[in-house]
């Protein structure tokens, strides 16, 4: 085969793969994007029932309830608004009252937020960046830095 046509074929194949990759990426991205809200933003924006979102804030002190048959319910707050979260899974070990938490899930018909994952990290020097940002905007958190 001539070098020219060989190169043409390579370019064509590459273009096809690139087009497929771009197409797939754009389609998949539409369904996989999850927006992050602070509790006050949730109150303002009213995400629809069933829409997957992330909410980050602090676990309100004294708000954690552990139903007898498993799971846990708690309230996420940013000082300005609160969201009641129900979670059927097992809370992460680092979950603490008064500490930062990010929950991912969707609102259900009852008005509660049903979390499918709960991420927590309670290290004095660490705060999930999104949470730190949200809290700073609401004026709760005055911390300097996180690493």
């Amino acid at each position: 085969m001539r070098a020219r046509s060989q190169r043409l074929i390579m370019v064509a194949v590459a273009a096809v793969v690139l087009a497929m990759a771009t197409g797939l990426a754009l389609i998949a991205l539409r369904d996989a994007i999850v927006l992050f809200y602070s509790p006050s933003e949730v109150v303002a924006a009213h995400p629809g029932i069933g829409e997957r979102i992330r909410i980050g804030g602090l676990v309100e002190d004294g708000s954690v309830e552990r139903p007898a048959d498993g799971g846990a319910d708690f309230t996420v707050t940013d000082g300005a608004a609160t969201i009641r979260v129900v979670y059927a899974g097992s809370l992460p070990d680092l979950f603490r009252e008064g500490q930062g938490v990010v929950v991912e899930g969707a609102f259900i018909a009852s008005g509660e937020f049903e979390a499918s994952t709960v991420l927590a990290k309670h290290d004095e020097t660490y705060m999930p960046p999104e949470v730190a940002q949200a809290l700073r905007e609401s004026g709760v958190w005055q911390g300097e830095g996180e690493q």
């Binding site: 793969v17 797939l24 998949a28 498993g70 097992s90 960046p129």
Partner: protein
Amino acid sequence: MIAEIGRFLVALAFALSALQLLAGWRAASAGSTPAMQIAARSAYTALAAAVIAFGLLIILFLQSDFSVAYVAGHSHVDKPLFYKIAAAWGGHEGSMLLWCVMLVAIGAALARFALKQDEQLKNRAVSIQGGLQLLFLGFLAFASNPFDRLLDVPLQGAGLNPILQDPALAIHPPTLYIGYVGLSAAFSLAVAGLIEGRGGRAIATALRPWSLFAWTALTGGIALGAWWAYYELGWGGWWFWDPVENASFMPWLIAAALIHSAIATEKSGNFAGWTAFLAIMAFSLSTMGAFLVRSGVLTSVHAFALDPERGLWILGIMTILAGGGLTLFALRSGKLGNGDGFALTSREAFIGVNNLLLAAVAGTVLFGTLYPLIMSAFGVSGISVGAAYFNATATPFLAALLIFLPFAPFLPWKKDGFNRRLALRSALWILPGVLAGLWAFLIDASPVAIAAAAFAGWTLAGVVTDLWHHRVLQGAAACFSLTGRILAHAGVVAMALGAVADSTGRPETVRALAEGEQIGIPGFTLTLDGVRRADGRNYLADEARIVVENGRVSELLPQRRFYTAADTTTREVAIQSGFGGDLYVALGEPRARDDGEIAYEVRVSFNPMVWLLGLGALLIVLGGLSASIGRALNGRRAGMMP
């Protein structure tokens, strides 16, 4: 005093790297022998200084000298000895030092072993590597120094996090770093080759062994990290597509493409530009993986604002590496040569397809990982890209890779090779493919997973025929190379099948159980027999005795530990491994019921055939090592390589 000596040695290694850069450059440009000797000696002494500095850091950890900020932040006098040592590279500053040690070691290795037959190229590469050392040692010395002191010495260290006290996690970063940093050799050689205007073939020959070795280490490092996440985090998963994992996966993909395209370039000069491009990208992505992730920038650009100095350093290093490397590539790739050309069904063509697919996966992963960052630059903050995106984009391409894989070893270089024999042979692969697809169908896999399983069965048959067909190869070097190829490809098949099994979902239940109560997942009934205290030296623990029935009766003992000094709770999962998969039991928080009975949360999941993933990773690592040995033997015979 030890800390101050350590700081000085870092400074000295920094100065010596500058000398290595200058002397190496002069040696390459003017062909001066003393300059070459100085460059080599600079590399050796910089290595000695960096290694001693790292040793001193370990001594500081052994002494628990909390006047050193990094030690105070990452150790505790009660930490077990092994983890005191491991803490030396457990945090940002220490891991940076380890990174620099390895970078300098690569510099010394290049000076000592590389390219005996082309000293000009070698000197240029040593000089470029000196430049890399200068960048990273500068970052270490000025913005992340592990020897920084605290004037107000704390009474006790703060680093007693029990989750991080784990053997897999202790050896995971060094292994990963060998991989990341090993790719710097490919980077330096490619850049040196572009500057020197060498042909693609020479560059590919020079960088292949380094890339192979680095990629092998990277595989091991990623596998160790996944293994740790699997049993220590207590979530039951091993791959979450989070930015930290993606950051190591992208250079892995690019390096995988590189080691294949470099073979083609070496044999026939084809893909010369592509190979050089991959070599530049692989180390640039490694750097991004190691630094952007650690700095938290990938989740939010605000991390830059919070730590501007480090942020600027990282940004600067990234710009120099990727920007400089690619600019050079654009200017000089014309000199690489066009190669001999190849036919449509030659081995090159299939390697080309392999590379395109790997690059496509790397590209989509890169896009998904950086998307939140891109959007936040446009003022839309707080977006995250879920695992669904990565599964949807990566899986089809990875599955497609498997279709083409088995043909390549039977095809000749340059010439068309798809003849009747190969067609007949490949017909034999259809049956295993159908069987594997059937298996996936029976375990309720998704259509994509069924296809992936079918391709994996097809590939496995191909790999076996490859072994059978080439078994008569002569010579130790060829044997090691063949074994490497077979093992690595078989490892890929094992991982694919493991991922298919995993994709069928892990049955999982969480419930609070009181004594005597039961929980079930398909195939298993678990009864909480009782919970007892099982305190250890530095923790309080509840240990549940859980009786498992699945035809046989056995028991599992998951624990929930509270480390008083670290104020941290962890769960020690209990895993019952079998051929079908792992039964995975974690003990959660207790709660009081209304009748006063205490119920313990128990989380049970079944992870199908996880062992396939471990086996796959092991085979790939062994394959990489075997191919490296083959390569070394081959080189020795030809008198070019170490």
